[in-house]
Assembly symmetry: C2
Homo-oligomer: 202 residues x 2
C-alpha cells in the first residue's frame, strides 16, 4: 500500500491557498511575503499557486475579497427588524458586534489596504462600498428611526455615524500596533456607547 505523493483536489486548492496567503500576509505584510512561502503553508508547490492565480497581485485581490462581512449583514438584519428599542439594540447586538470586530479578520484587511491600497483603488472602493458605506448607512437609518420614534434627540450623531466606529477603529489600530500593551477594548466600546446614549436620549 503506497500512499500517493499528492492528491488532486481542484475544488479546494484555491480557498486553501487564499487562506494560507491571508495568514502569511497578516504576519509579514504583502511585500515581504514570498509566494513560495504561501505555497508551502498551503502544502502545495509554488507552480500550483500560479495555476490558480495569474500573479501575486491577483492572489492579494482574492485575499481581500474573500474576507467579507457576514457578521455585518447579520447585524443589519437585526436592526432592520425593528423589534428592539433603540437603547436595547445599542446595549445588546450593537455592543456585541463592536466588541468582536478587533478580533475579526477586518483589522488585517485594514492593515493590508493601508499598505497596498494606493496601488489598488478598486479594492479600496470595493471595501468602502461593501463594508464601510453599508455599515454607516445602517447606523444612520437606525438613529433616524430612533428620532422618529421619539427615543432620540436630533444631534450631530445623525450626520456622524462615525462616532460609533471611532472606538472600534482605535481598538483595531491599537491591537495592530501595540499588541503587547493591554487595552480594555470592551470597556472602551461600552463607555463610548453610554456616552452617545446619554447624549442622544430624549
Amino acid at each position: 500500500m503506497k500512499t500517493p505523493r499528492y492528491r488532486r483536489r481542484k475544488e479546494d486548492r484555491p480557498k486553501e491557498i487564499v487562506a494560507a496567503a491571508f495568514a502569511e500576509f497578516a504576519e509579514h505584510g504583502y511585500a515581504a511575503t514570498k509566494v513560495e512561502d504561501v505555497a508551502a503553508r498551503a502544502g502545495v508547490s509554488k507552480g500550483l499557486t500560479y495555476l490558480y492565480f495569474k500573479t501575486k497581485e491577483d492572489l492579494f485581490r482574492a485575499v481581500i475579497r474573500n474576507v467579507v462581512g457576514e457578521r455585518l449583514d447579520a447585524l443589519i438584519d437585526v436592526v432592520e427588524q425593528e423589534q428592539l428599542s433603540g437603547e436595547a439594540f445599542l446595549r445588546g447586538p450593537m455592543l456585541d458586534f463592536m466588541k468582536r470586530v478587533p478580533d475579526s479578520p477586518i483589522p488585517v484587511v485594514i492593515q493590508l489596504l493601508l499598505a497596498e491600497g494606493g496601488r489598488h483603488p478598486d479594492l479600496v472602493k470595493y471595501y468602502f462600498d461593501n463594508i464601510v458605506a453599508k455599515g454607516l448607512q445602517a447606523i444612520r437609518r437606525f438613529v433616524a428611526r430612533g428620532v422618529a420614534r421619539g427615543e432620540f434627540r436630533v444631534t450631530a450623531v445623525n450626520e456622524l455615524p462615525q462616532l460609533f466606529l471611532a472606538p472600534v477603529v482605535l481598538a483595531m489600530i491599537w491591537r495592530l500596533l501595540f499588541p503587547e500593551r493591554t487595552l480594555d477594548t470592551d470597556k472602551l466600546m461600552e463607555a463610548q456607547l453610554e456616552m452617545i446614549l446619554a447624549w442622544i436620549k430624549v
Copy 2:
C-alpha cells in the same frame, strides 16, 4: 562661467535625503520605495545616500525618528500651566490640537509603522513611549485634575483617555484609506468633545 556639476553640502544632505525618503515612503510605502528614487528626489546619487545611511532600514529609522511631536509638547505645556478651566482647555487648545493631527505627518508614520512595525519593535516602542504614552498620560492627569477641582465627575474617562483619541484615529485612518471621500473631521472632533464634556461635567 561654467556651473559646477554639483555642490558640496555636507550639512544639509542628510535632512534633504530624509525629507525625500519621507515623501517617497508616504507615496509608495517602505517596501515599494527604491533607494534610487529617494536619491533622485533629493537630487543626489544613490551612492551618497549610502554615505549618510548605512542601509535602507537605517534611512527608515531616521525618517520615523525625525517626525517628532513638538506640537504635542506645546499642548502638554498648556495643560500643565493650569491657567484654563477644564472646559475651556478642551474647547480651546485641545480641540485645535485634535483638528490638526490628521493633516500632520503623524498619519504617515502610523501607516509606515503598521506596515513595517512588526520588523522594527524598537521603533514602535520609541513611538509609543514618546508620543502615545506621553499624550495619554497628560490627558489622564488633566481629567484627574478636573475631578480634584470639582469640575468633573469620576467616570470611565478617568481610566480611558483613549476616548479622546478615538475620533482622531478614525479621522487619520479615514484620510489614509479614503482620501477622496469627504468626512468633516473637525465636526467629528467637536462632537466627541461635546459628548465627553456633557458626560463628565458635574
